[in-house]
């Protein structure tokens, strides 16, 4: 059974380092794309890579974002040799501040259809950050990716961000996590990219090919 293989055997420390650096490059490019679009400065952090049993994925993400009571989530699936799901997560209440990044003002009329506007804004930010990040990972590793339309959920409990049925619970999953802040509006958020065991074989080969070009 695949799940009997220890996590250490599935991805080595060197492969984790390479993936971390690729995530760093990819999210940096995504932040740059967003910063050009809405004139902000995104403060980046060092990405973190974790390999875990797929059944542990929902509790892992719940724990990571437990400081947020409710969250707004942009979820997007992607397919290529690199296959999985991305979750862009903001704490509740950031929607209006993010909208103001787009329209340049902080004034809202009570009667504004703010819920729909929030959803559209999150969808746009998600499209840019997730698309650019996954796209750059795929480019660096020689893959071509297709995406599902982003799904946006506003003010959701942090306990139900990732479904138990996302991956086969018997399989393993790799989580790429980065935390970011939008300097101007004191907005922080998380990006989780999760890929299932189906992609591991290709991913390991692609990571080594990436480094070999420098040897």
């Amino acid at each position: 059974m695949v799940n009997k293989i220890s996590t250490e055997e599935m991805i080595t420390a060197e492969e984790t380092d390479i993936l971390q650096e690729i995530m760093n490059i990819a999210f940096g490019r995504a932040a740059s794309d967003l910063a050009e679009y809405i004139d902000i400065f995104v403060i980046l952090s060092v990405p973190y890579i974790k390999l875990l049993q797929a059944s542990d994925l929902p509790p892992y993400i719940n724990t990571e974002i437990m400081d947020y009571d409710k969250v707004s989530v942009v979820e997007q699936n992607f397919w290529g040799k690199f296959k999985g799901s991305a979750f862009l997560i903001f704490p509740a209440g950031t929607g209006k501040r993010i909208i103001s990044l787009f329209d340049g003002g902080d004034d809202f009329v009570e009667s504004d259809p703010i819920y729909e506007l929030e959803k559209e804004t999150f969808r746009e930010v998600g499209n840019i950050l997730i698309g650019a990040c996954i796209g750059k990972i795929a480019e660096l590793l020689g893959d071509v990716i297709t995406y599902s339309p982003p799904r946006v959920v506003i003010e959701k409990s942090h306990r139900s961000v990732v479904s138990d049925s996302l991956f086969d619970p018997e399989n393993l999953a790799i989580v790429l996590r980065t935390v970011f802040e939008f300097n101007e509006k004191n907005i922080s958020g998380y990006l989780f990219i999760v890929t299932s065991q189906e992609s591991f074989g290709w991913l390991k080969t692609a990571l080594h090919k990436f480094v070999e070009q420098y040897e």
Partner: protein, 126 residues
């Protein structure tokens, strides 16, 4: 003339890539450090002719390390090699005294050209 080069980056792979991109024919002495604070400490110890510095690092980020190094030596030559390619990040690095800013992942050609530019600048300064 450049003799000693310091690479400051928290990623061991990134350091390996940088070392592979630095031309081998000049017998540079290569040193590395795994975060900004260690980079500043190493700078004090070895006084490199050129420092390649990442920006996003734990403990002390590259912006702060750049400030500390410039305080130690106003003539320090620090090239930022970063994944953070936001225009404001690049502008801030220049404002803080970076010699130039290169995008990750680097290439051998780009690193060789950057080193040549530093050599020419050092030659002009005498």
């Amino acid at each position: 003339m450049i003799k000693r080069i310091l690479i400051v980056d928290d990623s061991p792979i990134s350091i390996k890539i940088m070392k592979s991109c630095i031309p081998k024919d000049k017998d540079y002495e290569l040193f590395d450090a795994a975060d900004g604070q260690l980079g500043v400490d190493k700078y004090k110890e070895i006084k490199p002719d050129l420092t390649f510095m990442d920006l996003t690092m734990p403990v002390m980020d590259g912006f702060h390390a750049l400030v500390e190094i410039m305080k130690l030596d106003q003539r320090a030559i620090v090239i930022i090699v970063t994944a953070d390619v936001q225009i404001k990040a690049i502008a801030r690095a220049h404002d803080l005294g970076a010699f130039s800013v290169l995008r990750k992942p680097p290439s051998k050609e780009l690193i060789a050209a950057a080193i040549k530019e530093v050599d020419e600048t050092l030659a002009q300064l005498g």
